[in-house]
């Protein structure tokens, strides 16, 4: 079947099987390998992407066919021009990654979290990321990274940017 999926603002028209999972569509049909496949069974959160601007989804548990006509945001779409997204900058500054495998999923889950709640407490960040596993166990700095990003994003909003 033919699908039209907008990924990071670019329309990808591709021929897929109905059983093609969104994670594999992004990696293999669109060549966007920033979305990682970890457990492949919706436990680890490495494959999280954002659908239609607000809903974080584990892309190993959604079919590409379901994304037909929808907008997907992946880690490749976070930066604008040469400027890192505040979440990416936060992970950079706070040493929020070690091996980096879980990082795209952490960032996209956090992106949806901050859309929902611009000023989350530390506890709310930890709860919000409870579906994402980091095998390096670097949670402390991941939480700091999201806190930094939330602060910067609030500043940007209040500065009218």
């Amino acid at each position: 079947m033919k699908v039209n999926v907008t990924v990071n603002g670019t329309v990808y028209e591709r021929e897929v099987q109905p059983r093609t999972l969104l994670a594999y569509f992004l990696r293999e049909n669109c060549g966007l390998t920033g979305t990682h496949v970890g457990c492949d069974t919706s436990s680890c959160g490495c494959c999280v992407v954002v659908v239609d601007g607000g809903r974080a989804v584990k892309s190993c548990s959604m079919f590409a066919a379901q994304a037909d006509g929808h907008e997907i945001l992946t880690v490749e779409g976070l930066a604008s021009g040469g400027t890192l997204h505040p979440l990416q900058q936060g992970f950079w500054d706070q040493h929020g990654l070690q091996c980096g495998y879980c990082t795209p999923g952490m960032m996209l889950t956090s992106y949806a979290l901050l859309k929902q709640n611009a000023n989350p407490s530390e506890a709310e960040i930890r709860e919000g990321l409870a579906g994402n596993l980091c095998r390096c166990t670097g949670y402390q700095n991941i939480v700091k990274a999201v806190q930094q990003a939330a602060g910067k994003m609030r500043e940007a909003v209040s500065a009218g940017r």
Binding site: S42, M62, G131
Partner: protein
């Protein structure tokens, strides 16, 4: 693992979904959130030859109250309950509690309440909650639409009253009165794991402080979620007390019929079911200002 091949059909209205399901009968499955179905298909535990995707049916995406019922549409996400404006109201404390512990926060943005009831996993959360809350499910079939009480809806593991070619359109939870509160107690090894044991409790009091009605149900305690009717009967009409809570907990332990697995032995899980019912009753009563 990649699922077995299937035909993908996207429905844009309840009528279209129903027509597609009628046409394909037992070969077709409804795809709502897919957070249980898709992993099951990946493990080849489910091999439907047709999927009818209902996610595009905006008319089924609602959570609203009418005629004394909270109506939850077929594609309302778990997160819609978690984020509802009224979720902090103590009358809804059972739904409040469960909405924060289903699967994990990402899965809850896609998984649906009605889908969870239809999946009827022995360790599901919404099934036990629906029993305690005395919910019902609206099912559309060939002869029209019918409302099925949750006790009749949950038939057996992964089996419900939804027949071939039929579709569950809505879950209904009676709006509790002011002197009502609930609690959901779940023990899980980690976020997103199946419950080791879980208990759903809903209590309503009379003006004199006696218990007008009680809903008590267990998950991960048998082939499907189970109502602890002995405990409900024992509580009704009584003044809350430590002895009464102990009796309800004992009834829950007796009723629980779990399987031994990596999460625990049968005696442990039976014991845990009782402990969780007692905790749930204490918390629900505490929310009503009654400390026992």
């Amino acid at each position: 693992m990649i699922p077995a091949a299937f035909e993908y059909l996207r429905a844009h209205s309840p009528d279209e979904a129903f027509a597609q399901l009628q046409k394909h009968g037992g070969d077709a499955r409804v795809l709502a959130g897919g957070q249980s179905l898709i992993p099951a298909m990946r493990f080849r535990l489910a091999r439907p030859s047709v999927l009818v995707d209902v996610n595009e049916i905006a008319a089924l995406d609602y959570v609203r109250t009418s005629d004394g019922m909270l109506n939850v549409g077929a594609i309302a996400r778990d997160s819609a309950i978690e984020r509802a404006s009224w979720i902090g109201d103590r009358r809804w404390s059972l739904l409040h509690d469960v909405s924060r512990v289903v699967a994990d926060p990402v899965v809850r943005q896609t998984g649906t309440v009605v889908g969870s009831l239809c999946h009827n996993d022995p360790a599901g959360d919404w099934t036990a909650v629906a029993l305690a809350a005395r919910a019902s499910v609206v099912v559309r079939g060939k002869t029209g639409t019918r409302t099925v009480a949750i006790d009749n809806f949950l038939v057996d593991s992964f089996t419900t009253a939804v027949g071939e070619g039929e579709i569950a359109l809505e879950a209904r939870f009676p709006v509790p009165d002011d002197r009502s509160a609930g609690s959901y107690q779940k023990v899980e090894r980690k976020v997103g794991d199946f419950a080791t044991a879980a208990a759903a409790v809903q209590v309503s009091l009379n003006a004199d402080g006696t218990i007008r009605s009680a809903g008590i149900a267990l998950s991960a305690a048998g082939p499907c979620a189970v109502r602890v009717d002995d405990a409900e009967r024992a509580l009704t009409g009584q003044k809350p007390s430590a002895d009464l809570i102990r009796a309800a907990a004992d009834a829950a332990s007796t009723k629980s019929a779990p399987q031994a697995d990596l999460r625990g032995s049968i005696p442990y899980k039976k014991h845990l079911a009782g402990v969780l019912v007692a905790r749930g009753l204490r918390q629900a009563l505490g929310r009503l200002g009654v400390n026992v």
